[in-house]
């Protein structure tokens, strides 16, 4: 197998991987896979095949074991996305409170459709299923942050803020 040796976590993340795998009994390190993929995605922005192969080597797994997981769960991106993903909940209670209006407002404001990325590579808009914030609808998630009770004004303000500093933290990490 061809290996891309340019891909490697910095020591701080290797320490984190060790901490995560240590949570599980000897020989059960595969249980760390989902979290290590989150780490990799937070660090590199998305999960390319090279990155998934690296994670496989790190956890002593076959590459296919990583690919099949990365493509099953909706939070993983196997294609490049914007630096800030605006994930707008579209399910039931959020729909009642105007999620569709918020989605079209963002589409118009950023000039992209649901699922697309702005040309400057800053924003990706994605409508997603229930995020567990039904009582504070409508809402969107950017990185790990929940933005709730959204209005058009609030959307303007948060887009402005992310434009100035296009960083959406996840797991306390800033993506590169």
């Amino acid at each position: 197998m061809e290996e891309n040796n340019n891909i490697a976590f910095p020591q701080s993340l290797l320490d984190e991987v060790k901490r995560i795998t240590d949570m599980f009994p000897e020989g059960k390190q595969k249980s760390a896979l989902l979290r290590v993929l989150h780490l990799a995605q937070s660090h590199w922005g998305y999960l390319s095949v090279d990155i998934m192969d690296y994670v496989a080597r790190l956890l002593h797994l076959q590459p296919i074991e990583v690919y099949e997981v990365a493509t099953f769960y909706s939070m993983y991106d196997t294609e490049k996305v914007g630096k800030v993903k605006l994930e707008v909940c579209r399910t039931g209670p959020c729909m009642i409170e105007g999620a569709e209006r918020i989605i079209s407002y963002i589409e118009n404001k950023l000039g992209i459709k649901d699922g697309e990325t702005t040309e400057d590579g800053i924003f990706t808009l994605k409508s997603v299923e229930c995020l567990g914030a039904c009582g504070y609808a409508p809402m969107l998630q950017a990185g790990e942050k929940f933005h709730e009770h959204l209005t058009e004004e609030k959307v303007d303000a948060l887009i402005e803020e992310y434009r100035k500093k296009p960083v959406a933290n996840y797991m306390g990490l800033e993506n590169e």
């Binding site: 949570m23 989902l34 997981v69 769960y73 399910t91 039931g92 729909m95 299923e129 229930c130 797991m171």
Partner: protein
């Protein structure tokens, strides 16, 4: 006003930190359990309490625990299901965010009762900031001797870790959760064997919801009998309800089981009535999977009884005229909401979340989504309504896990109670794009004597 067993201290500044939590009586149940109770004593209290699974199924917790296999030399595990993903449900997030130590305390006493020395909290990946809150609290618990080797000198060793999912509703199903916790795709397993015999890493495992585990703390502190004094019949204790939709005060409420639905919707201590003075059109009382109730079956049952917030009363009348308490995801719809649109929205959700293992669910949810999309967008035909009914009836009961049922029930209930609204969409395709149907007419239900 309902009692608060879980959220009593939730409003206290700094209760998410160890010091404040401990000062307010935190970890008492662990002290009591380790000093003066055997694992079987705890199990007995949980059985006496009548506690039922708070994730949705409502299965008696004591009974679930008693099924746990205990072969010699094989480690056992407790897994906390914090994969809260049922649309309309956001109570576990609230509890974990506000009082993370309550869940940790519950994990320690419950694991002691089950003889588990290593347990896990599996939390949905979207709640990553809550995972960090929990990890901080877990570290505090280790630092203060409530986790780790020989807890409080009792001889009980116990390790606890929290681990994330990555976006998959299906992982709320306990065997899919276990697969995911093992680092696999979240495909539910065939049962038997049940997790109680072969669960995490093929070891005996109990999977319990966050709220269920938290409820063990007051049960151990005050005794199962005391807990069982709250509630009615087989619905004992308090329940966290996530209230959303067209109400004045959405949010998380801890209620005594047995509270009337009417008081919950209209009472000032709870939802505070329908927003903007509108009329109630419908209610989904237990998360998106449970049958939707039309306005005239929300506060009263078909028999004319007051509808109560209990497992039994909410399901009175079966699926013909009742629903379920489910996860307590209580969604309220006013007269301006479109039931066809809502049903389409839910069908799209289940299609997105089907793991794809079983054909009836994988294909059926897609068909329902497409047919409902057509109906909602003025392109439906009369026979589409019967087609929908046919599809949902062929999913229910024909899949490995209950996601198939969960996808079928909302469609079935919507057609059962709101057929005239579906037909109106077919007859008035352009009008249905401009306005909503309003309230449906009250139906008389025949009793099953015929």
């Amino acid at each position: 006003m309902s009692r608060k067993l879980l959220l009593e201290n939730a409003h206290i500044e700094g209760i998410n930190t160890y010091d404040v939590y401990r000062k307010n009586g935190g970890y008492r149940s662990v002290e009591k359990a380790l000093k003066s109770m055997s694992p079987d004593d705890i199990l007995e209290e949980v059985k006496k309490s009548g506690l039922r699974g708070r994730g949705g199924a409502g299965f008696p917790t004591g009974m679930k625990w008693s099924f746990l296999a205990k072969p010699d030399g094989v480690p056992r595990h407790l897994v906390c299901n914090a994969d809260e993903s049922e649309p309309g449900t956001f109570k576990d997030r609230y509890l974990m965010e506000k009082i993370p130590h309550l869940l940790i305390e519950g994990m320690i006493v419950s694991s002691f009762a089950l003889g588990a020395n290593q347990s896990y909290i599996y939390i949905r990946g979207e709640y990553m900031y809550v995972l960090q809150i929990l990890e901080k609290a877990i570290k505090e618990a280790y630092d203060n001797g409530w986790l780790g080797k020989n807890i409080q000198g009792s001889g009980f060793d116990f390790d606890l870790a929290v681990t994330p999912g990555a976006g998959a509703y299906i992982c709320g199903e306990e065997t899919a959760l276990i697969e995911s916790l093992e680092g696999n795709r979240g495909n539910p397993r065939m049962k038997p064997p049940f997790p109680a015999v072969k669960g995490l890493w093929q070891r005996p495992t109990v999977v319990n919801n966050v709220e269920t585990i938290a409820a063990v703390v007051p049960i151990v502190n005050d005794g199962g009998d005391e807990y069982a004094k709250i509630g009615i019949g087989r619905s004992t204790g308090t329940k966290l309800i996530s209230a959303s939709g067209n109400i004045n005060k959405p949010g998380v409420y801890e209620i005594d089981l047995g509270l009337s639905v009417e008081e919950f919707i209209y009472g000032d201590d709870y939802c505070g009535g329908i927003k903007n003075g509108k009329k109630l059109k419908a209610c989904v009382p237990g998360g998106s999977s449970v049958p939707i109730l039309p306005h005239y079956l929300v506060c009263k049952t078909a028999e004319g009884n007051d509808r109560l917030m209990t497992y039994e009363s909410l399901s009175e009348g079966g699926f013909e005229t009742g629903s379920m308490l489910g996860s307590g995801g209580f969604i309220v719809y006013d007269e301006d909401q479109c039931i066809v649109r809502n049903t389409w929205n839910f069908a799209r959700f289940y299609h997105h979340e089907s793991c794809g293992q079983c054909s009836p669910c994988r294909e059926g949810t897609g068909w329902m989504k497409k047919v409902l999309h057509n109906l909602e967008h003025g392109k439906g035909k009369q026979e589409d309504i019967d087609l929908l009914w046919d599809i949902q009836s062929k999913i229910e009961g024909n899949t490995i896990c209950p996601l198939g049922d969960a996808a079928a029930w909302p469609v079935a209930a919507a057609i059962r109670h709101f057929r005239e609204e579906f037909e109106w969409h077919v007859k008035e395709p352009s009008l249905s794009q401009e306005k909503n149907y309003g309230l449906v007419t009250e139906k008389q239900f025949e009793t099953e004597t015929a």
